[in-house]
Symmetry: C2
Subunit: 253 residues, 2 copies
Protein backbone atom coordinates (compact mmCIF):
# COMPACT_ATOMS: atom_id res chain seq x y z
CA UNK A 1 0.00 0.00 0.00
CA UNK A 2 2.89 2.36 0.77
CA UNK A 3 3.95 1.93 -2.85
CA UNK A 4 0.76 3.37 -4.20
CA UNK A 5 0.99 7.05 -4.98
CA UNK A 6 -1.10 9.21 -2.66
CA UNK A 7 -3.51 11.40 -4.64
CA UNK A 8 -5.28 14.29 -2.93
CA UNK A 9 -8.46 15.28 -4.75
CA UNK A 10 -10.48 18.44 -4.23
CA UNK A 11 -12.61 20.93 -6.19
CA UNK A 12 -14.40 24.23 -5.76
CA UNK A 13 -17.98 23.25 -6.60
CA UNK A 14 -18.51 21.38 -3.35
CA UNK A 15 -18.38 17.73 -2.37
CA UNK A 16 -21.54 16.72 -4.26
CA UNK A 17 -20.62 18.23 -7.64
CA UNK A 18 -20.89 15.78 -10.58
CA UNK A 19 -17.48 17.00 -11.85
CA UNK A 20 -15.78 15.87 -8.62
CA UNK A 21 -17.57 12.50 -8.71
CA UNK A 22 -16.47 12.05 -12.33
CA UNK A 23 -12.83 12.85 -11.48
CA UNK A 24 -12.82 10.40 -8.56
CA UNK A 25 -14.30 7.63 -10.70
CA UNK A 26 -11.68 8.17 -13.41
CA UNK A 27 -8.55 8.10 -11.22
CA UNK A 28 -9.57 5.93 -8.27
CA UNK A 29 -7.56 2.95 -9.53
CA UNK A 30 -4.35 4.98 -9.91
CA UNK A 31 -3.42 5.27 -6.24
CA UNK A 32 -4.42 5.76 -2.64
CA UNK A 33 -7.09 8.46 -2.74
CA UNK A 34 -7.89 11.15 -0.17
CA UNK A 35 -10.80 13.39 -1.16
CA UNK A 36 -11.09 16.64 0.84
CA UNK A 37 -13.87 18.91 -0.32
CA UNK A 38 -16.09 21.66 0.96
CA UNK A 39 -19.70 21.47 2.05
CA UNK A 40 -20.63 24.51 -0.01
CA UNK A 41 -19.72 25.68 -3.51
CA UNK A 42 -16.54 27.78 -3.44
CA UNK A 43 -16.50 29.14 -7.00
CA UNK A 44 -14.67 32.44 -7.23
CA UNK A 45 -12.81 31.84 -3.97
CA UNK A 46 -9.44 31.97 -5.76
CA UNK A 47 -6.60 31.28 -3.31
CA UNK A 48 -8.58 32.44 -0.26
CA UNK A 49 -7.63 30.84 3.05
CA UNK A 50 -9.51 30.83 6.36
CA UNK A 51 -7.67 32.86 8.97
CA UNK A 52 -10.40 34.35 11.17
CA UNK A 53 -12.17 31.06 11.94
CA UNK A 54 -11.17 27.50 12.74
CA UNK A 55 -11.96 24.69 10.33
CA UNK A 56 -14.21 21.70 10.88
CA UNK A 57 -13.58 18.34 9.23
CA UNK A 58 -15.72 15.21 8.98
CA UNK A 59 -14.70 11.79 7.62
CA UNK A 60 -17.68 10.75 5.54
CA UNK A 61 -16.48 7.69 3.59
CA UNK A 62 -13.72 5.15 4.13
CA UNK A 63 -12.77 1.99 2.29
CA UNK A 64 -9.48 0.39 1.28
CA UNK A 65 -7.15 3.04 -0.18
CA UNK A 66 -9.95 5.59 -0.14
CA UNK A 67 -11.07 8.27 2.31
CA UNK A 68 -13.37 11.20 1.86
CA UNK A 69 -13.52 14.28 4.10
CA UNK A 70 -16.05 17.08 4.21
CA UNK A 71 -14.76 20.45 5.48
CA UNK A 72 -15.83 24.01 6.16
CA UNK A 73 -12.77 25.36 4.33
CA UNK A 74 -11.90 26.82 0.96
CA UNK A 75 -10.17 24.76 -1.78
CA UNK A 76 -6.76 26.09 -0.66
CA UNK A 77 -7.62 25.26 2.98
CA UNK A 78 -8.52 21.73 1.88
CA UNK A 79 -5.10 21.19 0.32
CA UNK A 80 -3.42 22.63 3.42
CA UNK A 81 -5.45 20.27 5.61
CA UNK A 82 -4.48 17.41 3.34
CA UNK A 83 -0.79 18.25 3.24
CA UNK A 84 -0.40 18.80 6.94
CA UNK A 85 -3.08 16.85 8.75
CA UNK A 86 -5.42 14.46 6.99
CA UNK A 87 -3.40 12.66 4.34
CA UNK A 88 -0.92 11.06 6.74
CA UNK A 89 1.99 11.71 4.37
CA UNK A 90 2.77 14.36 1.77
CA UNK A 91 0.60 13.62 -1.28
CA UNK A 92 2.36 12.69 -4.53
CA UNK A 93 -0.21 14.56 -6.57
CA UNK A 94 -3.02 17.09 -6.14
CA UNK A 95 -5.97 16.86 -8.52
CA UNK A 96 -8.75 19.43 -8.58
CA UNK A 97 -12.03 19.53 -10.46
CA UNK A 98 -13.47 18.68 -12.79
CA UNK A 99 -14.69 22.25 -12.57
CA UNK A 100 -18.08 23.21 -13.95
CA UNK A 101 -16.82 26.21 -15.93
CA UNK A 102 -13.66 27.31 -17.73
CA UNK A 103 -10.50 28.24 -15.86
CA UNK A 104 -8.66 29.27 -19.01
CA UNK A 105 -7.24 32.78 -19.54
CA UNK A 106 -7.87 35.23 -16.67
CA UNK A 107 -10.33 32.83 -15.03
CA UNK A 108 -7.36 31.19 -13.28
CA UNK A 109 -7.02 34.23 -11.00
CA UNK A 110 -10.57 33.78 -9.60
CA UNK A 111 -10.43 30.01 -9.58
CA UNK A 112 -10.78 27.95 -6.43
CA UNK A 113 -10.00 24.88 -8.55
CA UNK A 114 -6.60 26.27 -9.50
CA UNK A 115 -6.10 27.87 -6.05
CA UNK A 116 -6.08 24.33 -4.66
CA UNK A 117 -3.57 23.10 -7.24
CA UNK A 118 -1.28 26.12 -6.74
CA UNK A 119 -1.39 25.52 -2.98
CA UNK A 120 0.13 22.09 -3.60
CA UNK A 121 2.81 23.59 -5.81
CA UNK A 122 3.98 25.78 -2.92
CA UNK A 123 5.15 22.57 -1.23
CA UNK A 124 6.48 21.17 -4.51
CA UNK A 125 3.58 18.76 -4.99
CA UNK A 126 2.75 18.37 -8.69
CA UNK A 127 -0.86 19.13 -9.45
CA UNK A 128 -3.45 19.25 -12.18
CA UNK A 129 -6.62 21.30 -12.32
CA UNK A 130 -9.29 20.00 -14.71
CA UNK A 131 -12.07 22.29 -15.91
CA UNK A 132 -14.81 22.02 -18.49
CA UNK A 133 -16.02 25.07 -20.39
CA UNK A 134 -19.62 24.53 -19.24
CA UNK A 135 -21.06 26.06 -16.07
CA UNK A 136 -24.11 23.80 -15.98
CA UNK A 137 -24.47 21.45 -12.99
CA UNK A 138 -25.70 18.97 -15.65
CA UNK A 139 -22.66 19.44 -17.90
CA UNK A 140 -21.74 16.50 -20.16
CA UNK A 141 -18.28 15.22 -19.14
CA UNK A 142 -18.36 12.10 -21.32
CA UNK A 143 -15.66 13.29 -23.77
CA UNK A 144 -12.94 13.91 -21.18
CA UNK A 145 -12.35 10.43 -19.73
CA UNK A 146 -9.26 9.28 -21.60
CA UNK A 147 -7.61 12.69 -21.36
CA UNK A 148 -8.05 12.94 -17.58
CA UNK A 149 -6.61 9.43 -17.13
CA UNK A 150 -3.73 9.89 -19.60
CA UNK A 151 -2.63 13.30 -18.25
CA UNK A 152 -2.83 12.05 -14.66
CA UNK A 153 -0.85 8.90 -15.47
CA UNK A 154 1.81 10.90 -17.30
CA UNK A 155 2.30 13.28 -14.36
CA UNK A 156 2.41 10.38 -11.88
CA UNK A 157 5.09 8.70 -14.03
CA UNK A 158 7.18 11.64 -15.24
CA UNK A 159 6.46 14.30 -12.61
CA UNK A 160 6.47 17.99 -13.48
CA UNK A 161 9.22 20.61 -13.36
CA UNK A 162 9.77 21.99 -9.84
CA UNK A 163 7.13 24.56 -8.91
CA UNK A 164 4.93 23.87 -11.95
CA UNK A 165 1.36 22.59 -12.17
CA UNK A 166 -1.01 22.12 -15.09
CA UNK A 167 -4.15 24.12 -15.81
CA UNK A 168 -6.14 21.76 -18.05
CA UNK A 169 -9.32 22.95 -19.77
CA UNK A 170 -11.76 21.01 -21.95
CA UNK A 171 -14.03 22.48 -24.61
CA UNK A 172 -17.73 21.94 -24.14
CA UNK A 173 -18.85 18.68 -25.76
CA UNK A 174 -19.87 19.01 -29.40
CA UNK A 175 -20.44 16.62 -32.27
CA UNK A 176 -16.75 16.49 -33.29
CA UNK A 177 -14.35 14.45 -31.14
CA UNK A 178 -11.57 16.36 -29.35
CA UNK A 179 -8.52 16.83 -31.57
CA UNK A 180 -5.88 16.18 -28.91
CA UNK A 181 -3.84 18.17 -26.38
CA UNK A 182 -2.13 21.54 -26.86
CA UNK A 183 0.41 22.81 -24.34
CA UNK A 184 -0.08 26.56 -24.46
CA UNK A 185 -0.03 29.96 -22.74
CA UNK A 186 -2.66 31.74 -20.68
CA UNK A 187 -4.59 33.97 -23.09
CA UNK A 188 -4.78 37.67 -22.27
CA UNK A 189 -8.61 37.53 -22.34
CA UNK A 190 -10.95 38.92 -19.71
CA UNK A 191 -14.49 39.58 -18.54
CA UNK A 192 -16.26 42.68 -19.71
CA UNK A 193 -18.22 43.27 -16.57
CA UNK A 194 -21.08 45.20 -15.26
CA UNK A 195 -23.19 45.22 -12.15
CA UNK A 196 -26.92 44.75 -12.29
CA UNK A 197 -28.49 47.22 -9.90
CA UNK A 198 -31.70 46.08 -8.18
CA UNK A 199 -33.92 47.16 -5.31
CA UNK A 200 -34.84 44.86 -2.44
CA UNK A 201 -38.43 44.82 -1.05
CA UNK A 202 -37.38 47.58 1.37
CA UNK A 203 -36.23 49.87 -1.45
CA UNK A 204 -32.54 49.42 -0.77
CA UNK A 205 -30.10 48.99 -3.65
CA UNK A 206 -28.02 45.88 -4.20
CA UNK A 207 -25.64 44.79 -6.98
CA UNK A 208 -25.16 41.52 -8.85
CA UNK A 209 -21.90 40.93 -10.69
CA UNK A 210 -22.57 40.07 -14.34
CA UNK A 211 -20.66 40.19 -17.60
CA UNK A 212 -19.44 38.45 -20.72
CA UNK A 213 -16.09 36.92 -21.56
CA UNK A 214 -14.09 38.54 -24.35
CA UNK A 215 -10.87 37.37 -25.98
CA UNK A 216 -8.83 40.00 -27.77
CA UNK A 217 -5.64 37.93 -27.68
CA UNK A 218 -4.76 36.99 -31.26
CA UNK A 219 -1.69 34.87 -30.49
CA UNK A 220 -1.81 31.34 -31.89
CA UNK A 221 -0.46 29.51 -28.85
CA UNK A 222 -3.01 30.43 -26.17
CA UNK A 223 -5.43 28.28 -24.19
CA UNK A 224 -8.42 30.13 -25.64
CA UNK A 225 -7.24 29.43 -29.19
CA UNK A 226 -6.72 25.73 -28.39
CA UNK A 227 -10.21 25.47 -26.87
CA UNK A 228 -11.78 27.29 -29.82
CA UNK A 229 -10.08 24.76 -32.12
CA UNK A 230 -11.52 21.86 -30.08
CA UNK A 231 -8.24 20.88 -28.39
CA UNK A 232 -7.67 20.21 -24.70
CA UNK A 233 -5.59 23.14 -23.43
CA UNK A 234 -2.76 22.54 -20.95
CA UNK A 235 -1.03 25.60 -19.46
CA UNK A 236 2.04 24.97 -17.27
CA UNK A 237 1.41 27.39 -14.40
CA UNK A 238 3.32 28.62 -11.34
CA UNK A 239 3.06 30.85 -8.28
CA UNK A 240 5.53 33.53 -9.37
CA UNK A 241 3.69 36.80 -10.07
CA UNK A 242 6.88 38.68 -11.01
CA UNK A 243 6.76 40.45 -14.37
CA UNK A 244 10.40 39.52 -14.97
CA UNK A 245 10.68 41.55 -18.18
CA UNK A 246 10.22 44.71 -16.14
CA UNK A 247 12.45 44.12 -13.11
CA UNK A 248 15.33 45.90 -14.79
CA UNK A 249 13.34 48.51 -16.71
CA UNK A 250 11.47 50.14 -13.80
CA UNK A 251 13.73 52.61 -12.02
CA UNK A 252 13.39 54.79 -8.93
CA UNK A 253 16.10 57.38 -8.46
Amino acid sequence: MANKPLILITNDDGINAPGLRKLISLVKHLGEIVVIASEHPMSGMAHAVTIQNPLRVRLIAEEQNYREYLTTGTPADNVKLGKHKLAGRLPNLVLSGINHGSNAAINIIYSGTMGAVLEGVIDRIPGIGFSLDDFSPHADFSHVDEYVVDITKKVLTDGLPKGVCLNVNFPVKNIEPLKGIKVCRQADARWVEEFEERKDPHGRTYYWLAGRFENGDIRNDTDEKALADNYVSVVPSHTDFTAHDHVNSIKFS
Copy 2:
Protein backbone atom coordinates in the same frame (compact mmCIF):
# COMPACT_ATOMS: atom_id res chain seq x y z
CA MET B 1 -11.77 68.78 -11.58
CA ALA B 2 -11.84 66.51 -14.65
CA ASN B 3 -8.10 67.08 -14.95
CA LYS B 4 -7.36 65.54 -11.59
CA PRO B 5 -6.38 61.88 -11.77
CA LEU B 6 -8.98 59.58 -10.26
CA ILE B 7 -7.45 57.35 -7.58
CA LEU B 8 -9.39 54.34 -6.30
CA ILE B 9 -8.21 53.28 -2.84
CA THR B 10 -9.00 50.03 -1.07
CA ASN B 11 -7.41 47.53 1.33
CA ASP B 12 -8.07 44.14 2.90
CA ASP B 13 -8.03 45.01 6.60
CA GLY B 14 -11.41 46.76 6.50
CA ILE B 15 -12.47 50.36 6.30
CA ASN B 16 -11.31 51.29 9.80
CA ALA B 17 -7.77 49.94 9.55
CA PRO B 18 -5.07 52.47 10.50
CA GLY B 19 -3.07 51.45 7.41
CA LEU B 20 -5.91 52.54 5.10
CA ARG B 21 -6.34 55.82 6.98
CA LYS B 22 -2.59 56.43 6.68
CA LEU B 23 -2.63 55.77 2.92
CA ILE B 24 -5.60 58.11 2.38
CA SER B 25 -3.93 60.90 4.36
CA LEU B 26 -0.71 60.56 2.34
CA VAL B 27 -2.20 60.69 -1.16
CA LYS B 28 -5.38 62.70 -0.70
CA HIS B 29 -3.85 65.81 -2.30
CA LEU B 30 -2.75 63.92 -5.44
CA GLY B 31 -6.13 63.53 -7.14
CA GLU B 32 -9.83 62.89 -6.90
CA ILE B 33 -10.17 60.09 -4.37
CA VAL B 34 -12.74 57.29 -4.22
CA VAL B 35 -12.28 54.95 -1.24
CA ILE B 36 -14.15 51.64 -1.46
CA ALA B 37 -13.50 49.29 1.41
CA SER B 38 -15.09 46.42 3.23
CA GLU B 39 -16.90 46.43 6.54
CA HIS B 40 -14.96 43.42 7.78
CA PRO B 41 -11.30 42.40 7.59
CA MET B 42 -10.62 40.42 4.38
CA SER B 43 -7.09 39.19 5.05
CA GLY B 44 -6.33 35.98 3.19
CA MET B 45 -9.16 36.54 0.71
CA ALA B 46 -6.73 36.61 -2.23
CA HIS B 47 -8.56 37.35 -5.48
CA ALA B 48 -11.91 36.00 -4.22
CA VAL B 49 -15.01 37.53 -5.77
CA THR B 50 -18.63 37.35 -4.63
CA ILE B 51 -20.72 35.31 -7.05
CA GLN B 52 -23.37 33.65 -4.86
CA ASN B 53 -24.62 36.81 -3.20
CA PRO B 54 -25.33 40.38 -4.23
CA LEU B 55 -23.26 43.25 -2.86
CA ARG B 56 -24.39 46.12 -0.69
CA VAL B 57 -22.80 49.56 -0.83
CA ARG B 58 -23.15 52.60 1.42
CA LEU B 59 -21.73 56.10 0.81
CA ILE B 60 -20.34 57.10 4.20
CA ALA B 61 -18.31 60.25 3.51
CA GLU B 62 -18.38 62.90 0.80
CA GLU B 63 -16.53 66.14 0.34
CA GLN B 64 -14.93 67.91 -2.61
CA ASN B 65 -12.90 65.41 -4.68
CA TYR B 66 -13.41 62.76 -2.03
CA ARG B 67 -15.93 59.95 -1.53
CA GLU B 68 -15.85 56.94 0.71
CA TYR B 69 -17.94 53.78 0.29
CA LEU B 70 -18.45 50.88 2.67
CA THR B 71 -19.27 47.52 1.03
CA THR B 72 -20.02 43.91 1.82
CA GLY B 73 -17.55 42.75 -0.84
CA THR B 74 -14.03 41.42 -1.03
CA PRO B 75 -11.08 43.63 -2.08
CA ALA B 76 -11.40 42.41 -5.71
CA ASP B 77 -15.17 43.09 -5.58
CA ASN B 78 -14.43 46.61 -4.37
CA VAL B 79 -12.22 47.35 -7.36
CA LYS B 80 -14.85 45.86 -9.70
CA LEU B 81 -17.51 48.07 -8.08
CA GLY B 82 -15.21 51.05 -8.46
CA LYS B 83 -14.30 50.35 -12.09
CA HIS B 84 -17.82 49.69 -13.26
CA LYS B 85 -20.22 51.48 -10.94
CA LEU B 86 -19.07 53.83 -8.21
CA ALA B 87 -16.14 55.79 -9.59
CA GLY B 88 -18.06 57.40 -12.46
CA ARG B 89 -15.12 56.96 -14.85
CA LEU B 90 -12.31 54.42 -15.16
CA PRO B 91 -9.79 55.18 -12.37
CA ASN B 92 -6.30 56.31 -13.38
CA LEU B 93 -4.75 54.41 -10.50
CA VAL B 94 -5.65 51.75 -7.93
CA LEU B 95 -3.94 51.94 -4.55
CA SER B 96 -4.35 49.26 -1.89
CA GLY B 97 -3.18 49.09 1.71
CA ILE B 98 -1.24 49.98 3.63
CA ASN B 99 -1.56 46.35 4.64
CA HIS B 100 -0.87 45.30 8.21
CA GLY B 101 1.44 42.42 7.31
CA SER B 102 3.91 41.51 4.55
CA ASN B 103 2.77 40.65 1.04
CA ALA B 104 6.27 39.81 -0.14
CA ALA B 105 7.23 36.37 -1.53
CA ILE B 106 4.40 33.80 -1.59
CA ASN B 107 2.17 36.04 0.54
CA ILE B 108 1.01 37.74 -2.67
CA ILE B 109 -1.02 34.64 -3.56
CA TYR B 110 -3.12 34.87 -0.37
CA SER B 111 -3.29 38.66 -0.39
CA GLY B 112 -6.51 40.59 -0.64
CA THR B 113 -4.42 43.76 -0.86
CA MET B 114 -2.74 42.56 -4.02
CA GLY B 115 -5.93 40.85 -5.27
CA ALA B 116 -7.43 44.34 -5.48
CA VAL B 117 -4.45 45.75 -7.36
CA LEU B 118 -4.33 42.82 -9.80
CA GLU B 119 -8.06 43.29 -10.45
CA GLY B 120 -7.29 46.80 -11.69
CA VAL B 121 -4.50 45.47 -13.90
CA ILE B 122 -6.99 43.24 -15.72
CA ASP B 123 -8.54 46.43 -17.10
CA ARG B 124 -5.12 48.00 -17.68
CA ILE B 125 -5.36 50.31 -14.68
CA PRO B 126 -1.94 50.79 -13.09
CA GLY B 127 -1.89 49.91 -9.43
CA ILE B 128 0.26 49.78 -6.32
CA GLY B 129 -0.18 47.60 -3.26
CA PHE B 130 1.55 48.88 -0.12
CA SER B 131 2.24 46.52 2.77
CA LEU B 132 4.19 46.78 6.01
CA ASP B 133 5.92 43.74 7.46
CA ASP B 134 4.05 44.10 10.78
CA PHE B 135 0.72 42.40 11.48
CA SER B 136 -0.10 44.54 14.52
CA PRO B 137 -3.19 46.77 14.33
CA HIS B 138 -0.95 49.29 16.16
CA ALA B 139 1.89 49.01 13.62
CA ASP B 140 4.16 52.06 13.30
CA PHE B 141 3.82 53.45 9.75
CA SER B 142 5.82 56.65 10.39
CA HIS B 143 8.82 55.64 8.24
CA VAL B 144 6.87 55.03 5.01
CA ASP B 145 5.43 58.50 4.24
CA GLU B 146 7.84 59.83 1.65
CA TYR B 147 8.08 56.48 -0.13
CA VAL B 148 4.32 56.10 -0.49
CA VAL B 149 4.03 59.62 -1.88
CA ASP B 150 7.05 59.36 -4.20
CA ILE B 151 6.11 55.96 -5.66
CA THR B 152 2.49 57.07 -6.18
CA LYS B 153 3.58 60.33 -7.85
CA LYS B 154 6.00 58.51 -10.12
CA VAL B 155 3.32 56.04 -11.29
CA LEU B 156 0.81 58.86 -11.82
CA THR B 157 3.37 60.71 -13.93
CA ASP B 158 5.12 57.90 -15.83
CA GLY B 159 2.51 55.13 -15.77
CA LEU B 160 3.50 51.49 -15.72
CA PRO B 161 4.08 48.96 -18.51
CA LYS B 162 0.80 47.50 -19.82
CA GLY B 163 -0.52 44.78 -17.52
CA VAL B 164 1.96 45.50 -14.73
CA CYS B 165 1.37 46.64 -11.14
CA LEU B 166 3.72 47.11 -8.20
CA ASN B 167 3.85 45.01 -5.05
CA VAL B 168 5.54 47.37 -2.55
CA ASN B 169 6.60 46.11 0.87
CA PHE B 170 8.14 48.02 3.77
CA PRO B 171 10.36 46.57 6.48
CA VAL B 172 9.10 46.94 10.04
CA LYS B 173 10.34 50.21 11.56
CA ASN B 174 13.69 49.94 13.31
CA ILE B 175 16.29 52.41 14.55
CA GLU B 176 18.02 52.72 11.15
CA PRO B 177 16.34 54.79 8.42
CA LEU B 178 15.24 52.92 5.28
CA LYS B 179 18.06 52.65 2.74
CA GLY B 180 15.97 53.30 -0.38
CA ILE B 181 14.02 51.31 -2.95
CA LYS B 182 14.98 48.04 -4.65
CA VAL B 183 13.07 46.79 -7.69
CA CYS B 184 13.26 43.03 -7.30
CA ARG B 185 11.71 39.57 -7.83
CA GLN B 186 9.23 37.63 -5.73
CA ALA B 187 11.29 35.39 -3.41
CA ASP B 188 10.60 31.67 -3.52
CA ALA B 189 9.87 31.67 0.22
CA ARG B 190 6.88 30.08 1.93
CA TRP B 191 5.05 29.24 5.12
CA VAL B 192 5.94 26.09 6.98
CA GLU B 193 2.50 25.32 8.23
CA GLU B 194 0.70 23.23 10.70
CA PHE B 195 -2.78 23.03 12.11
CA GLU B 196 -3.44 23.34 15.81
CA GLU B 197 -5.99 20.73 16.75
CA ARG B 198 -8.38 21.69 19.58
CA LYS B 199 -11.59 20.40 21.13
CA ASP B 200 -14.67 22.57 21.51
CA PRO B 201 -16.77 22.44 24.73
CA HIS B 202 -18.81 19.65 23.10
CA GLY B 203 -15.74 17.48 22.52
CA ARG B 204 -15.65 18.07 18.75
CA THR B 205 -12.35 18.70 16.99
CA TYR B 206 -11.51 21.91 15.16
CA TYR B 207 -8.37 23.18 13.44
CA TRP B 208 -6.55 26.53 13.46
CA LEU B 209 -4.10 27.30 10.69
CA ALA B 210 -0.70 28.26 12.14
CA GLY B 211 2.88 28.31 10.95
CA ARG B 212 6.10 30.21 10.47
CA PHE B 213 7.56 31.91 7.41
CA GLU B 214 10.76 30.48 5.98
CA ASN B 215 12.97 31.83 3.21
CA GLY B 216 15.25 29.33 1.49
CA ASP B 217 15.73 31.54 -1.58
CA ILE B 218 19.38 32.62 -1.66
CA ARG B 219 19.16 34.86 -4.74
CA ASN B 220 20.36 38.42 -4.22
CA ASP B 221 17.59 40.20 -6.11
CA THR B 222 14.47 39.10 -4.20
CA ASP B 223 11.95 41.08 -2.18
CA GLU B 224 12.83 39.16 0.99
CA LYS B 225 16.52 40.04 0.60
CA ALA B 226 15.69 43.72 0.02
CA LEU B 227 13.47 43.79 3.13
CA ALA B 228 16.10 42.01 5.23
CA ASP B 229 18.60 44.68 4.12
CA ASN B 230 16.17 47.46 5.20
CA TYR B 231 15.17 48.50 1.67
CA VAL B 232 11.66 49.08 0.36
CA SER B 233 10.97 46.18 -2.02
CA VAL B 234 9.10 46.82 -5.29
CA VAL B 235 8.13 43.78 -7.39
CA PRO B 236 6.59 44.46 -10.84
CA SER B 237 3.76 41.92 -10.89
CA HIS B 238 1.22 40.66 -13.41
CA THR B 239 -1.73 38.32 -13.87
CA ASP B 240 -0.05 35.78 -16.15
CA PHE B 241 0.39 32.46 -14.32
CA THR B 242 2.05 30.75 -17.31
CA ALA B 243 5.39 29.09 -16.54
CA HIS B 244 6.69 30.20 -19.95
CA ASP B 245 9.97 28.28 -19.62
CA HIS B 246 8.00 25.05 -19.71
CA VAL B 247 5.49 25.63 -22.52
CA ASN B 248 7.81 24.01 -25.03
CA SER B 249 9.37 21.39 -22.75
CA ILE B 250 6.21 19.58 -21.60
CA LYS B 251 5.01 17.16 -24.28
CA PHE B 252 2.00 14.90 -24.65
CA SER B 253 2.21 12.37 -27.43
